[in-house]
Amino acid sequence: MRLALRTPVFIFFSLAMPLVFLFTFCGFFGRGKPYAIPYLLASVLALTVMGSFWGLSLQLVTYREMGILRRFHLAPVSAGALLASSILSNYLLTVPTVVVQFLLARWLFHMPSWGNLTGVVVMVTLGIVTFAALGLIVSSVTNTAQETQIINQALWLLFLLLSGATLPLPLFPGWLQRVAFYIPATYLVTGLQNVLVAGTSVMHLGADLLSLSVCALLAFIIAQQLFRWDPGEKAPRRARLWAASTIIPFLLLGAWETHRGSLRASAQSTFRSMERQAAPEELPH
């Protein structure tokens, strides 16, 4: 009840920007051939979903810097409720974009199938929550909007280039592929590719789902612990260590994937399935 009442306001502030931005994005990427669309859509959706960490972290830090969070602190609002509501509002904000992208892909760019719809819903939901929570972590260790921008840029670049969202994972040299196994975004991208291209059911996405959920949960709890209302209160040094621990599930998972190699195989297979239908020169990038 409280959340629902609060969120419209949050939504209100950040409505215009992402929609416009992502519309263009979609049109640009979608200019492929129908058979390549599911693969491309997976990337576009992944980018949209990952974008949630960007807006949220910046918003929270700005609110803190401006003293808006302090005003909230006077009211009976807990850090957890505030963070949860910000994730929820972020979700409600991102979903329409995702839906529009999805429909555009199908109708405008003639995507051959819907993929596994349940899988898409689950991956998108989990992805938004995870990356929003990661955004909260970023905002919990930075003191100014400027700092947040810098860290976001770095993370974004990492997610963008190494996750397979822009350059397909199988095109990377082997060592770089192994690096990608340690990045949260990779699991989102491969998960989305699986459900969209191969129509994999949710049940078979164990690793991706598990890693994203654990990461989301961990990030949320840590963000809640490190939450600061007051602009005068600086991030303590130990906060950075805590924040860094969010990466633990991915280290474990990365190590496991390196060892087992199923992620690589699935990335290969979704890529191949598209390649089979397309001449090499028509591939993206």
Binding site: M1, R2, L5, R6, P8, V9, F12, F13, Y63, M66, G67, I68, R70, R71, H73, L74, A75, P76, V77, S78, W229, D230
Partner: protein
């Protein structure tokens, strides 16, 4: 009398090497309007923010409605309402949205329509926060502070930075709240505000309460004396003014000398005679009954607004 709504005992707080509070103690009774009066940096805001649960104290105890502000958590927040020294809201939030949002946080709520009307914000109900004037923002901040019918209201410098007319509007609002028998703790560095609004005032300087009482009591500290402020063409001889007939006290502030006298006519006559014999001239002369400003001056040797 029932137990006090606010109890502060020997509160201390340091920021690094700066001692902001050096043992502040006072009590506020139910329905009382209590003022913390002092210059900027005296520790008023720190005290209030400890009471609001926004800051921790290094030492001493603070209780509001019998609760420890830092530990009582959300239940405590239900009981209080507050305006911060600078209330910040998102620029793009509408007035009615802000009210609706904040009231949604509480179990006990006021009718928002009434609030809008009462604070003269009806016409601005759909305006963005960023478009409001300073006075309107402050009125909204006050409205937000009472959305939950709080038992205790904290107003940190409610009229700082507002022009005199707007300031009087805010006074009217606070006086209305006073009629409702709300317990109010307000900080200010305006004497006028403290005199007009407060039942009791604690004068705070350098992190300590240096005087406490009703405005009348405080003024009676300068009992029976009248304040004479003179400006002279040249500086008088050292201590000469203090030795004039009837003068109890003499201090220099910038280019003026402030005398307190028990027998004004005698003092004036003596002053004129002395100036004549020194060949000095009177540039200006003001006689006034003592104000809280004088009390502050006497207590601290400083003017409030420097």
């Amino acid at each position: 009398m029932s137990s006090p709504v606010i109890q502060v005992e020997n509160l201390t707080k340091s920021y690094g090497s700066v001692e902001a509070l050096r043992g502040v103690s006072f009590e506020v009774q139910e329905g009382e309007v209590f003022g913390l009066l002092g210059p900027n940096g005296a520790g008023k805001t720190t005290t209030v923010e400890i009471l609001e649960g926004l800051r921790s104290a290094d030492g001493g105890t603070a209780r509001v409605c019998g609760l420890n502000p830092l530990e009582a958590g959300l239940r405590f927040k239900e009981e209080i309402g507050a305006t911060l020294q600078s209330t910040a809201l998102p620029e793009k939030i509408r007035v009615r949205e802000a009210l609706a949002m904040f009231s949604s946080f509480y179990g006990r709520r006021r009718n928002l329509q009434d609030l809008l009307r009462r604070f003269g914000l009806e016409e601005k109900r759909n305006a963005f926060y960023g478009q409001l004037s300073g006075g309107q923002k402050q009125r909204l901040a006050l409205a937000l502070a009472i959305v939950n019918e709080p038992r205790v209201l904290f107003l940190d410098e409610p009229t700082a930075g507002l022009d005199p007319q707007v300031r009087r509007e805010i006074y009217d609002i606070i006086e209305e709240l006073k009629q409702e028998k709300k317990t109010i703790l307000l900080t200010t560095h305006y004497i006028e505000e403290a005199e007009r609004l407060c039942d009791r005032v604690a004068v705070v300087d350098y992190g300590k309460v240096i005087a406490l009482g009703t405005p009348r009591e405080l003024k009676q500290r300068s009992a029976g004396t009248t304040r004479i402020e003179v400006r002279l063409a040249r500086a008088p001889q050292d201590g000469a003014l203090g030795k004039l007939e009837g003068v109890t006290d003499c201090k220099q502030f910038e280019d003026a000398w402030v005398l307190h006298s028990t027998r004004v006519p005698a003092t004036i006559v003596a002053l004129v005679k002395q100036l004549e014999s020194d060949g000095n001239e009177l540039a200006s002369l003001e006689i006034s009954s003592p104000t809280l400003e004088d009390v502050f001056l006497e207590l601290t040797g400083r003017k409030l607004r420097d």
